[in-house]
Symmetry: C2
Subunit: 232 residues, 2 copies
Amino acid sequence: MPITMYDLAGVENDRRFSPFCWRARMALAHKGLAVETVPWHFTEKDKLPSPNDGRVPVIVDGGTVVHDSSAIAEYLEKQYPDRPPLFGGEVGRGLTRFVQNWTETVLQVGLVRLVVLDIHRHIGPVDQAYFRQSREARFGGATLEEVVKDREARLPAFRASLDPLRRTVERQDFVAGTAPSYADYIVFGAFQWARAISDFELLAADDPVRAWRGRMLDLYGGLARKSPGYGA
Amino acid sequence: MPITMYDLAGVENDRRFSPFCWRARMALAHKGLAVETVPWHFTEKDKLPSPNDGRVPVIVDGGTVVHDSSAIAEYLEKQYPDRPPLFGGEVGRGLTRFVQNWTETVLQVGLVRLVVLDIHRHIGPVDQAYFRQSREARFGGATLEEVVKDREARLPAFRASLDPLRRTVERQDFVAGTAPSYADYIVFGAFQWARAISDFELLAADDPVRAWRGRMLDLYGGLARKSPGYGA
């Protein structure tokens, strides 16, 4: 029986744009596990299985419900030890957390200020009201339009903030070395989030990060590339 | 026969302040290898063993000369496979490069603009002339005094730039997880560089990064703490 995964969707059910859901989706593919995704929308809190914390990703594997992308990765690694490892041992697990913390304090923080209005454009009216209210509160009351209005001017600083990633994937194919591992999926989730909902080009044509993103889009038969989005 | 390591020193021979030499020194201790260090000064290019690229660290192990901290770590891992691993496998090695690239593009770049004048104060007159000329050229002609003059104002941004590290060592004892590995030594080398030559307090008293730095200073019988420096 395939694993079920609740996956954040736009007004079009096949547009999947949560960075955390993409982490889980790529981890499932890495493990070679069959999955059926269920499109889920911001305001459908009561449609999630129990225990329910109102957020995705959530997976249901047989009788087991696991939510939170980090918990899902740990679950898969423990439950399917004979399949390709996501972490590559204890040091790999520890260092993956550093990559996660960089992604969440630098990359995603920079990205959301570039594309948050584009998210709003891709969700339904009920979700839009929820999204605008909750996100504008996070931005100290600035409207979504105000948050992104100088994004062209902020693009050089955003690109500069990618230097640790850029220098890494310039010298090796993946963040984790010669093959992708969970750290790659964490970083890629952020780019796939942006790609799903925004045509704003984040990366210069000759940026090594763009070449790495291309390699990630190619994985698992083009799983991420086939998903609705913008650009290459 | 112990390994010989050429180690950057100040006007006092026991003040060792190269971040790259500290990576190698900690890696040797991690492997449990005996080492005799040779104090070396910026302008003593002709005192290094051959092949000589004019920089430290350089180690001599029997008849083998290895220079560059990354090459030294790889050499030790390959030559002493039965001793505690520095990388913890291929994923660990790949992700260590991400930590290294963060250290070199964010941490060390931020640090040098806080403490570069303090380095100058701790080296001899001949080295001072070399250091001032070469470093001021790197800063686009700004004097060392100009580079650091607004450092108090830049301290909050520097501290904020440590967020990925802070969040990591807040949740686990070391960058690499429950035990230190080479990634920890890379990051620590930067802090030990600053500690050796500057009394400028980089970290707030309650910063989890400071607690981690304390754990690093305690390793291997207090190896790094016993080396001349400022602060705890």
